[in-house]
Assembly symmetry: D3
Homo-oligomer: 324 residues x 6
C-alpha cells in the first residue's frame, strides 16, 4: 500500500511516493521559461504539483492516467498544500495497486441501483420498460451509472451523484405524476431515468472529476441520443412515434436554448421532466451549499450554481437582532 | 330576468336590453371623429359594442360598472359578434337584478375552500397557523378568495382559478416536502397559501376579467405585502425573524427579477415555492391550451403563456406517418 | 387534368374541382361556433379555404394529405383570394392524378446534384468520402435531397433550395479553405455537405412547405445526428474520434446556443463551417428580399429573416437627392 | 387654392384634386396582381391611397415628392378614410401652389430660435461659442433647425419638435449644471445644442414625416459627426483635444451601445448630457401620450415609446373606488 | 482610550489591544484545516485578521458586534496590512469606551438634516407634508437617517451618504420640477425624500458597512413599503388613492425590473423620480471615482458602479499629444 | 547599446540601465501608502516595475513615453519577473538610442503593403480607386498602416497585424465576391481596405500595445469616419451617394449595435464585409490560441476572444481513448 496518501500530507514534509496523473499541462512563466504542472491523485484526494527544472526529459512519457513516482517537497501556499517536484518517473506495473488510486463513492450505490431497478420494473408500457431495462442493465452502462457524478461542480458533484439524482427524481415523479392525471407516468419516468445517462460518458470520474473530450465536443444530451436511438432500434416493434417522444424528452430537458437544449419541451411530460429536474438540481445545489461550513454570519459563501448566497434559516431564527 | 343574454345573441338581430359596462373608452377614427367603445357584460359573457353617433350626450354618465339599457343591432364581423348601438341610457335601479350580471365560478369553490381550511388546520407551527387562519378566514378576503381568477390570460384564468391553483399547490407541497427532509413543511405551506393572495385585489372579476388600477400600480406581491404585514403585526408574539422569512417567501416567489420579484429566493422553502408555483402554473397553462380545440393537425395553436405550440400526444401517436 | 388550377382562380368565380389538403384546422368564432379552415394545394400553389356550415359530417374523413373534391366560391378578401366552401368530399383514387398536385423545383436540381457528387468524389480522406457517398447516394435520401427547401421562410425557401444552398457552400469552401492552410478541406467539406441533411425530414414539401411533427419535436440537427451515427457505424474501421469530430461539426453549426446549437464550434473547421453557413444563408435571404418588388422607394419591405430593410444600391445611386 | 384638403375629406365623396406624393410603393396581392399604394399629403395631413387598375402607365412618372392630380373615391375602411384612385396624372407646375402642400409648425419656432441664440451667446469658452454660432447660424442649417421634428414617432414628433426639445434641454442644463459644481457648463451646453443636429438630415419633414435614405444608412450621430468635424476644423486654433471631447459628447449621447451609441459616456458632461436627454425625451413622450384622448378608463392607450400605459393621475384621484 | 488604532498600525509591529468584531467566519484551507477569519474595526478603520491555531476554544463566544481583546502581529501581505492573531478573548464591559469604535460621518449631517426639514416644511399638500414629517422626524428613524450610507459600494458609500444623496435630489427636484409644469412638485418631493428610507434598515453601518440579513432578504424597497404603509394609515383621512401613488413612487424608482423594481414608473412624477435618482447616483459614483488618485495616465481605474473608466478632463486637456 | 535588455533579465540580478516608460500609475496600498507602478519597455519586451520609497521627488518628471534610467533588483514573483526600483531618473537625450526601444514587426510588412497596392490598383471604379490610393499612400497614414496591430488582445495583436488582417481579407474578397455575382467587388474591396484604418490612431504601438485616449473616446470607426469624409471630399466629383455607401460600410462593419456599430449592414456588400471580417478575425484568434503551447491535455487554455477552449484536432485524433 502506498504511503503517504494525499489526505495525510503535511506542510514541509519531503515525500517519495506514487500517484495517478489526472491532469498534465506545460505552462510558461511570463519570462518565457516553461514548467510542468500536474494534478496528482490517489483514492483520498488530489493535489497540485509543479516541477520547475529538469522535467523536459522526465515528463516526456508522463500523460493523463499514467502512474508516476514522485520525489517532492510539500509546501503550504496560502493555506493550500502543493508539491514542488524534484524527481519524477513512470511507475512500473508492479509498483502500484489500482485500488489505492480510485476513490469510492461515499453513498450506498448498490441500494440506489436496486431502487432504480424497482422503478423500472413498475413501468407498465412494455416498449418503454424494455428500453429502460436495456439501458440500465447494459453491462457497459450499469457500472458507470453506479459511479458517475451528476456534474463536475454544479450539483450532485460526487461519485454516485448521478444515480442519487436520478433516484431522487424517480421518487418525485411517483409523487407528482398522479397529481396531474393527464400525465403519462410511464413516459415521465422514462424521461427521468434516461435524461442524464449521457453523463456516464461526458464526465471523467476514474480519478479526479472532469470532462472527457467527447463530453466537451458533444455534451451529454447528444451522447445519450446515440445510446437511446440504438437501444430503441434494437427493440422489435418499438413504435416510431414513441421513439420521437422519448428523444424529445431527452433533447428538451434543459428547458431553454441557452442551457444547451436544442428544443423546448412541447408536451406535458417533457414540461414536467424539465421542471422536476431543474427543481431537484437546485435543491441538490442548495443542500451542498448549506452543508459546507463556509460563509459569513448566517449566510453561506457565494454559490456559483445558484448565483447567490443562501440563508441558514435555523441559525438566523436563533440569532440576535442586528445593529444597523 | 333580462333577455336576451349575451350567450343568446344572434347575428342580424335587433335588441333592446340591459348590460353591465365592464370597460369604457372614447376612441377616434384616423380622420379624427370620436366614437364610443364599450365592453358590455352579463353573467353569460361579454361583447364589444360601438356607438358611432349621438353618444356625446348619452355617454356622459356611463362609466365602468354602470348598468345601461341599450338599443342595438348585432353584427357579425369576421366570425365575431359585436353590437352597433343606436340608443343608450343609464338603467334605473329597479330595472336590473344583480344576479343576472355576475357570472358564477364553474368549479366547486366551496369544496376547494374546505380543503384549504384543512391544510391550514394541519399546520403545526402556531404562529404560522394563526397567520393563515387570520388571512383565509378574514371576512373581507374569504369571499374574494372564492371568486378570484389566478390571472387574466396566463394560467387558471377563470372564476375560482386562484383557489384552484392554491389548493393544487397545497397538495403538491404535501407530496414534495417530505421528499426533502430538511424542508420545513409549515413554512412552505404558508408560502403556498399566501403567495398569491394579493391577486384578490390586483384583478377585477366582478364582471369581465381585468386589472384594477391599484393592481397595475402595485401588483399582487406588494398588495399582499401590506396584508401580511398587518396580519402578522396583529398576532401577539409573532417572531420578527419569522415575519421576515414569510415576507421573503412572498417577495421572491416569481424567482427572477424580470418577472417582477424584487428578491431572488434565498432559502430552501423559498426555492421550492418558486419551482412548484412555476411548474403548476405552466401545467395549468398547458392544460388550458390542450383543452381548446384550436390548432393545426396534432398541434395546439400558438400559446402565448408558454410561447410555443404543444403537441397532442395521443392524437400524434395515432396519426399516420407524414409525407415529406 | 384538373381545372381550374390554383393559379388560374378568379375572384367571384364558382368552382368544382379537386385539391390536396395541406393543412386542416377546426376553429371557433368568438361566439363559439366552429368552422373548418383548410389550406388547399395543387402543383401551381396553395389557397386558404373556409367552410362555415355543414362541415361536421363531410369533414370527418378529411385529413392532411387527403385529396378532396370541393364546390366553392372564390372570394377576394383585401386583395387575397380565398375559397368559401359549399360542399366537400373525399376524392376517389381514380379522380386524381398525383402529378397535378406536386409542384416541381424551378431550378436544375439534376445539375446541382451532379456537382455535389463531384465534390464528394474530390474528398481524399477515404473514411469521409465513404460517409459522404453513403449519405448522398442513399436511395431514401437522394430524392429528398433533390427536392427539399432549406427553410420554410428564412432563406432558400423553395423546392431544391437545400441542394442549392449546399452546393453554394461547397463552392465557397473550395475557395476559402486554401486561404487558411491549417484547415482540413476534407473535414470542412464533410461538414458542409452533411450539416443540413436533417432538413429532408424536418420539413414537409410534398405539397405546401411546412414542418413535420418530427421536425418540430427534434429539429434537423438531431434528425441528422441519427442518420450520421448509423452511416458512420456502418463503415468498417471508421475512426471513433473522427466520428466525434463529424458529429461536432453537425451539432455546432448554428454557432450559438440560442439558435439551437447544443454546442459551440470548438475547432477550426467547425468555426469556418458556421461562418460560411451563416454568411451564405444571409446572402440568400438578401437575394430573395431584393428580388421581390415590394418595398418603399429604394428600400425593400421589412425582411424578417434579416430583421431590417435592405437598400437597392443601384436604384439609390440613380435616384435624385431627397428633400428634407 | 386646392380643394378639398385632406382634413376636409368625407367618406363616400368623389374628389378630383391635387396632392404631394410622400410615399410610393408597388405591392402585389397574394394572387400576384400588382397594385399601387401611395401616401398623399397636403398641408393639412396625409391619406393612404390605392390604385388597383390601369396604374402601370400613369404611375411611371410618379415618384416621391411629385405633385399629382387624382380622381378618386373616399372610402371609410374600419373608421379610417382612404382613397381609391380611378385616374392619376402628374400635375403641371402652374396647377399647384407650394404653400398648399407644406404643413407649418404649430409652435412658435422663431421665439425658440431666439432663445437658442441667447443660450449660445452666454457661452464663455470662445472656441465652443464660435462652434455653436457656426452651426446654429449656418444658413443651410438654421432653416432646417426651425422645422425638423425630433423623431418620426418616439418623442417631440412634430414640426419644430427638434428645436423644442433642444431649448428645453438648454433650460434644464442651466438649472442642473450649477448643482454639480465640477461640471463645465459650457461643455455641457455645447453637447446639448449639437447632439441632435444630425436629425435635420436624418429625417424627412418637407411633407409627411419619415427618414431619408442617408438617415437610414448613417443615422443622426454620424451625420452630425461630419458637420461638427468640418465646423471645428474651420475655426482657427480650435484645440484638438477639445474637439475630441465635443465629438465624444455627440457619439455617446444615447448612453448605451444597443441604442446606437458607438461609445459610452466617459466624463461628467457626457454622462449628464445622456441623462438629461433621456429624461427630457421620455417626459416629452409622456406628455404626448397623456395629451391624447385615447385609452381605457384612467389609463392611456399602450405607448410604444415608453412600452407601457400611463396613469392619468388627476382622473384617477377623482375616480370612484373600483369593484374587484 | 485604546491604542493603537487601526489607522496607526505598522507592519511587523506586535500589538495587544481592543477591537469591535464586524465580521466573523470559519474557513477551511484546502487541506481541510479550519481557521478563523475576522474583520476587526474601530473608529479609524477596519482590518482583516486570521487566527490559525487554538481559536476553537477562544472563538466560541466571539460574534459580530462583540468587543474583543487581541494579541497579534501586524503583517504586510502584498502592500496590505493584516493581523495574525495569537490570543483572543472577549473584552469586559469596563475595558471599552463605545466612542472609540464608532466612526463619525465626515460631512455635516446636522446641516443636511436641517435642509431636509426645510424641504419638508415647503410641501403644500397637507397629507403629504404630514407623511414626510412623520417619517423624517420619527425618533427611531431620524438618527439612522443622519448616519446611514446610500450604499455599500456603488454611490454615496460613506456615513451620512444617504442624507447627502436625498438632499441633493431635493435640490434637483426644486430646480427641475418647475421645468415640467404638469408635474406635481409635492408628489415628486415626497418620492425623493422617501424612496431610499428603507436603506436605514437594509444596511449595517454601526461599525463597518455591510448589509443586514433583513436587508438581504427584503431589500430597501420592501422595508420602506412597510414603514410608509404604517405611517400613512396613521394619518387620519390620508386619501387611499394618494397612498397608492406614494407606494408606486417607492416601488418603481429603480426604473426597471432587472434592478429590483417590481413595477415600472407609470406616471410623470414616478418617471421623473427615477431619472433624477439614476442621474444623481451616477454623478455621485463619478465624483468618487475621479476623487480617487488611482488610475492609468489620464483615466481613472476601472469603476464597477459605472462599468467603465472615466476620463480626467482637465488632465487630458493639458497633456501632450500621444505617440501611436 | 543598452544592456541588459528586458529579454535578458534574470531573477535576483541587480541592474542599472535605461527603459522607455509605457505606462505610469500612482497606486496606494490598502493602508493608504502611495507607491509608483511603471510599465517599462525596450525593443525586446515590457516588464512591470514598482518603486516603494522615495519616488515622490524622482517620479515627478516621469511620464508615459519618457526615457528613464533605473537602478533596480529583478524579482521573481510567482514565476513572473518584475523590477523593484531603488533609484530612478530621466535619461539625458544622448544616453539613449531610439532604435533600442522600438520593437520591429516580425512579419514582412513591406511585402504585405506591396500586395495591398496591387489590390488597390485592381479597382476599376475610378472614384473608389482614387479614394483608396489617397488613403493607403497618404504619407501620414502609410507608415502607421505598416506598423499598427489589429487589436490589443483579441486578434492579430502584433506589430503589422492590421496590415496582415487587411491583406488576408482582400484575398478572401477576391475569392468570395465572384461567388455572389450581384456583389460589386470594387465596393466590397473598398470596405475591406478602409474599415479598420482608424485603428492606426485608436491604438498605441510605439512601445507597448495599448489604446490612445482618442481611441477610447471615439473608437476606430469614428476616427476613420473623419479620415474618409475628408479624403472623399478632396476628390473632385466623388458622387455623394457613393460617399454615403462607403461611410455605411465603415459604420456597419461590426454587424451589431452591441459591438459598437451604430448601424446594421443594409446592403449586400456591407453584409459580406461584416461576415468576412468576423470570420477572418475569429480564424486569426483561433490561430493564435492554437499556436500557444498553453492548455490542458488536447485543449487550449481558455480563450477570451472566442470565450471557449479550442480542440487541437491532430493531437486529439492521435490520443488514446479516455478512461471515464
Amino acid at each position: 500500500m502506498k504511503s503517504p496518501f494525499v489526505a495525510e500530507l503535511q506542510a514541509d514534509q519531503t515525500i517519495s511516493t506514487f500517484f495517478l496523473v489526472s491532469e498534465k499541462e506545460i505552462r510558461s512563466t511570463r519570462d518565457a521559461r516553461p514548467y510542468l504542472r500536474l494534478e496528482l491523485a490517489d483514492r483520498t484526494g488530489t493535489i497540485e504539483a509543479r516541477m520547475w527544472e529538469g522535467f523536459e526529459r522526465d515528463a516526456q512519457a508522463v500523460e493523463r492516467d499514467a502512474f508516476v513516482k514522485v520525489q517532492a517537497r510539500v509546501e503550504n501556499y496560502r493555506g493550500k498544500l502543493q508539491l514542488s517536484i524534484d524527481r519524477l518517473r513512470i511507475a512500473k506495473p508492479d509498483e502500484v495497486e489500482a485500488a489505492d488510486y480510485q476513490a469510492q463513492p461515499q453513498i450506498d450505490v448498490a441500494a440506489l441501483y436496486a431502487k432504480l431497478l424497482e422503478f423500472v420494473a413498475g413501468v407498465a408500457n412494455p416498449s418503454l420498460r424494455q428500453l429502460l431495462e436495456a439501458v440500465v442493465q447494459d453491462p457497459q452502462i450499469a457500472p458507470k451509472l453506479k459511479r458517475a457524478p451528476a456534474a463536475k461542480l454544479m450539483h450532485h458533484a460526487y461519485l454516485g451523484g448521478l444515480l442519487d439524482h436520478v433516484v431522487s427524481l424517480c421518487e418525485l415523479s411517483r409523487l407528482v405524476a398522479p397529481h396531474y392525471p393527464e400525465v403519462d407516468g410511464d413516459l415521465l419516468l422514462t424521461g427521468v431515468i434516461l435524461h442524464d445517462v449521457g453523463k456516464t460518458e461526458e464526465l471523467r470520474y476514474d480519478s479526479a472529476l472532469g470532462y472527457t473530450s467527447e463530453g466537451q465536443l458533444l455534451g451529454h444530451i447528444l451522447i445519450a441520443y446515440e445510446i437511446l436511438v440504438k437501444k430503441m432500434d434494437a427493440i422489435p416493434g418499438f413504435p416510431p412515434k414513441l421513439k420521437s417522444l422519448v428523444l424529445h424528452l431527452l433533447a428538451s430537458h434543459h428547458g431553454q436554448y441557452e442551457f444547451g437544449s436544442p428544443k423546448l419541451p412541447m408536451f406535458r411530460e417533457a414540461l414536467l421532466l424539465h421542471y422536476l429536474d431543474d427543481m431537484d438540481s437546485k435543491m441538490g445545489a442548495a443542500k451542498a451549499a448549506l452543508a459546507s461550513e463556509h460563509g459569513v454570519d448566517e449566510w453561506t459563501e457565494w454559490n456559483s450554481a445558484l448565483d447567490r448566497r443562501l440563508l441558514r434559516v435555523e441559525q438566523y431564527l436563533k440569532s440576535e437582532p442586528e445593529k444597523k
